[in-house]
């Protein structure tokens, strides 16, 4: 009846929370499956995709288009996967990639650095200093990644509906909170909400199909009417428009297509 995204740092017990929420609600639990789907659908080696969506981009990579393409593929795979509803997703940036969908509950699980360091030491058999450095580096990578792609800080509380600190609260408490939130009427899947996620999945799929040819493309779908934005006016001349139409030929669900070169991009576009 809802889509739950759980954002977490490494060793924050977010994975455990996600799995238990999924088990209690009888939902599907997704994380790595999305990478596999994207890798399979767009024929990209899994390792390349993981690197692109996990590590912070270098200066050269920020200018290059491959990373943006990988994110578009990943978003397309994710939006398609959650379309069927009743899902707990605990992978990367779900709260940002599934924007504009009202019945998505955005949760963040945080834990004390000391506890995270202990878990890392236990699991990897390393010293405290090394474990601390690794966790801080990992957090920093994620911060840079989100900032470079979305211009927001993943630690910004306003990105989430609920932030649960695993310290005084146990994993089981966090599961209770999330299940309670999932039962709230505003997170129920209505016909209108389902349409929004369908549109997001379609827009993401269109973007993934076009991104190699048009690196600055942004796409919005409203009831299957697809609006395609590009920054530069001359990019989509008649010839380019034809090329885009050819690229989108196999995609189901498009009722109508409009091209808007040089027009300010709608805030809801992906």
């Amino acid at each position: 009846m809802a889509i739950i995204t759980i954002s977490r740092g490494s060793y924050s017990k977010g994975k455990e929370v996600a799995e238990k929420v999924a088990e209690r609600l009888g939902y599907r639990c997704l994380s790595r499956e999305v990478i596999l789907e994207a890798s399979d659908r767009y024929h990209i080696p899994e390792i390349k995709l993981i690197k692109a969506i996990h590590d912070a981009p270098s200066l050269l990579e920020r200018l290059g288009r491959s990373r943006r393409s990988f994110i578009a593929y990943y978003q397309s795979a994710l939006a398609s996967a959650v379309r069927e509803d009743n899902v707990v997703y605990h992978g990367l940036a779900g709260h940002l990639l599934l924007k504009g969908v009202p019945h998505v509950i955005k949760i963040r699980i945080i834990a004390n650095l000391g506890e995270r360091v202990k878990s890392e030491m236990k699991r990897e058999g390393m010293g405290e200093k090394e474990a601390r450095t690794l966790i801080i580096k990992d957090d920093e990578e994620r911060r840079k990644w989100t900032q470079s792609l979305y211009g927001v800080d993943p630690w910004d509380s306003s990105l989430y509906d609920l932030i649960i600190h695993i310290y005084k609260f146990s994993v089981s408490d966090a599961v209770d909170f999330i299940c309670q939130a999932a039962g709230m009427p505003q997170f129920k899947t209505t016909r209108e909400n389902q349409q929004k996620i369908d549109d997001l999945a379609l827009a993401s799929q269109v973007k993934a199909a076009l991104i190699e040819a048009f690196s600055d493309v942004a796409v919005l779908s409203e009831y299957g009417n697809v609006l395609i934005y590009t920054k530069s006016e001359d990019r989509l001349s008649q010839k380019q428009e034809e090329k885009a139409r050819t690229l989108l030929k196999g995609i189901k669900g498009i009722n109508n297509m409009e091209f808007h070169p040089g027009v300010p991009v709608s805030t809801n576009a992906v």
Binding site: S157, Y160, L162, K168, Q180
Partner: protein, 274 residues
């Protein structure tokens, strides 16, 4: 027998939420009403105390020493009330100084940013862009205030047990969630958590007493043993330590006073150039 500390990015919303929670739980509400009592005790206008909770010292504005004193007086009064239990505390920055107390649930309520911007537009008659800028400026201001006052970032979610955003979650649902959470066994006072809150209260009381004479004083208390840290010139060290021992020793609840006086390097250097 627990304490709920509610903070929010919007004072009004935080207050409404805290009052509703107190009503739903049958707890007492501890808000800025206590400032009147502090104002009478220390003969300070109440408005100055409110200002201390909202503004930080600037070059041309409020003095740092006075600001610290006002905050210490507020802290002393809040801590004395928090010993009573079954309270919902809001608007007094308690989330920044009630630390390490297991029976205190610290909740941060985030207002619906878009709704706040819309309200600013209709109330002030300004553009959406300007309203959004003002909203973000206020957020930065609160962050800086908390850093200056307690060296903690109140926008950092790890300062809280629970952060609830009202952009999708209804205030009534949030109250229900807080109410259910506080009923958990781990929020019941235990011997150790009661000791912790008594220690914080004692330290706050000693600091409030000493601050007027020793503005840089830092106090830590544990089971009646009070550790005071301050700075002084080399020649004043002994005298200062004795005064602190005498003053702090006379405060009810203090059993032993340990004073650490560090050399005031800046004053020492300034004096050597005279």
């Amino acid at each position: 027998m627990s304490i709920i500390i509610i903070s929010s990015d919007s004072y009004g919303i935080g207050r409404d939420m805290a009052k509703s929670t107190a009503e739903a739980m049958g707890y007492d509400f501890l808000g800025r009403e206590i400032l009147g009592r502090v104002a009478v005790k220390y003969e300070i206008p109440e408005e100055r105390l409110i200002k201390a909770l909202e503004e930080y010292p600037s070059f041309f504005g409020k003095s740092l020493k006075l600001w610290n004193r006002h905050l210490a007086y507020i802290q002393e009064a809040v801590m004395s009330d928090l010993l009573k239990d079954n309270l919902v505390c809001q608007g007094l920055a308690a989330h920044l100084y009630v630390l390490g107390v297991s029976h205190a649930l610290r909740v941060h309520i985030l207002s619906d940013a878009e709704e706040s911007v819309r309200q600013l537009v209709s109330q002030e008659g300004i553009s959406t862009e300007k309203a959004r800028k003002r909203f973000n400026r206020e957020k930065k201001h609160r962050r800086r205030w908390s850093m200056e006052a307690f060296n903690l970032d109140e926008t950092d979610p790890s300062q809280y047990d629970l952060v609830i955003s009202l952009s999708k979650i209804d205030p009534d649902e949030a109250v229900k969630l807080i109410g259910e959470t506080i009923s958990y066994r781990r929020f019941k006072p235990m011997t150790y958590s009661i000791k912790c809150i008594h220690d914080i209260e004692l330290a706050a009381r000693v600091r409030a007493t000493l601050l007027e004479r020793f503005p840089d004083v830092r106090v830590h208390a544990s089971s009646g043993v009070v550790v005071v840290r301050t700075t002084a010139l080399k020649r004043e060290k002994k005298k200062r330590a004795n005064i602190i021992r005498e003053v702090a020793g006379g405060i009810p609840g203090v059993e032993y006073v340990e004073v650490h006086v560090i050399n005031d390097f800046f004053r020492q250097s300034a004096e050597s150039f005279r």
